[in-house]
Symmetry: C2
């Protein structure tokens, strides 16, 4: 009797890297995770984290990741290189680069490390939200292909729909949402990384319309260890994001990703350019 | 008649770099900015930003900076290399590295860019604080040499003094303070960068005692342009910092640096290790 293997999850297809040399990988953009221009930033960030995790010298778990979106990624193949800049007893530092035809499109640094039990305290609290099941999922405009791989249910600050005449300027940039991969997929570090970029540009919400905007630099601090991430299974996580300052063509965004039982899985920050 | 030039400010001495090749510099640790182990992280971050600013190919102003403290910096000379990974029309991306005897101690990425006037909005508000002049400056323990170069006046969350028996566990990690260089020095991007690291480790405040702790990764988002920074002159700025989560040997810190007239100069985030 033939056992048919389940097809891989679209996320795993999108972040797949083939190692062809020590710390060097071939990858390929995936139309399923395309954004309006180039790939969804979250899938690129997840791919670069995965390059480190696939490296034979990788030690420990992700602690922090910074991804700089230096230039557009064209549809098609790309190369990723990852190398440890320094390995300590408990932490390891990495440089990562994504190139196409020899031109750098994306750079990243990552810190991995060993976690051990210590005194702990979560000082902030998750946003108040009704159960995910009680909110209808929201579909995104067709041009945002990647959003079809996520079940997104807005608690606050839904994506504006200017064509409905319902959108307009808002005084507050906060979006809170439930999100999980669709089809459901157990959470891991790369998937959590991608979720950190799932919030649409805050300037859309403030101005009530779409305009050119893109992440320049994204940082993720991983608070969850691998056991805590595994405990999330394929449940929706609760995310909340807001901007502190918009001005001179740029804005920041800070966000939190919360898991079951009030576990703060990640805090994440980004700087975004916009044209208004 | 002989005109004696004013001696350079200690900050400028500490961040001085001598270029010896394209994008390559010699520097030297400065005992005036020493921390308990190695230099003050803020002075290292400022030095790496300055390497980019001194590079003949540098375009625009700092937008974001991420510094990874990979290993200890020994007292003595060091080398810094900085190179642009990609230059666009409006933004430029950089990799920076600090080495000693060929070993990497610190890596950084920076994004520089052109600012242009756009719609702007500061969504957060500065913390409530009495005037800097109404608060006495606080001296730090002698082992923290770098703090003698700053006039620091705590509004909230002063550095614990366990020897006085006044410290103890606190439920909140927030520190708010007025700070300026001493002697006074007009603000610029490197000095603002250093100020982003002026908050002592939040775990000291929560646990009411000193313990081993050090920044692993520091990110700064520069909201101020050079005109706004120049307008600060040598006035004290208002900073506030707090942690979102402590656990498994690490914690994050997010902070804001506010200038005159409610100008948000920078938001900054870091991940810190601790032993408790």
């Amino acid at each position: 009797m033939t056992q048919l293997a389940a097809p891989p999850h679209p996320f795993d297809v999108a972040v797949e890297l083939d190692s062809f040399d020590a710390g060097r990988f071939h990858g390929h953009t995936d139309p399923a995770y395309a954004n309006m221009v180039g790939p969804f930033g979250g899938i690129t960030a997840a791919t670069l984290l995965r390059a480190v995790m696939q490296h034979p010298e990788c030690l420990g778990e992700p602690l922090s990741l910074t991804v700089n979106f230096a230039g557009p990624i064209a549809d098609g193949p790309y190369d990723v290189s990852a190398y440890p800049t320094r390995t300590n007893r408990a932490t390891q530092h990495w440089n990562v680069e994504l190139t196409q035809d020899g031109a750098v499109t994306t750079t990243a640094t990552a810190v991995f490390g060993v976690r051990r039990q210590t005194w702990s305290s979560t000082e902030i609290t998750p946003p108040t939200a009704p159960a995910a099941d009680s909110i209808a999922p929201q579909s995104f405009p067709d041009a945002i292909a990647w959003a079809r791989n996520y079940d997104i249910r807005f608690v606050e600050g839904s994506i504006p729909a200017p064509e409905d005449g319902t959108a307009g300027e808002q005084p507050n940039s906060t979006t809170t949402l439930w999100v999980r991969d669709t089809p459901p997929r157990p959470l891991d570090f790369p998937a959590l990384t991608a979720l950190c970029d799932v919030f649409y540009p805050r300037v859309f919400l403030r101005l009530g319309r779409y305009l050119p905007a893109g992440t320049i630099s994204l940082t993720v601090y991983f608070h969850a260890d691998s056991a805590s991430i595994a405990a999330q299974s394929d449940n929706a996580v609760l995310g909340t994001a807001r901007t502190q300052r918009f001005g001179n063509g740029y804005f920041d965004q800070s966000a939190e990703i919360w898991g079951r039982d009030g576990a703060l899985l990640a805090t994440t920050h980004q700087l975004v350019y916009f044209k208004a």
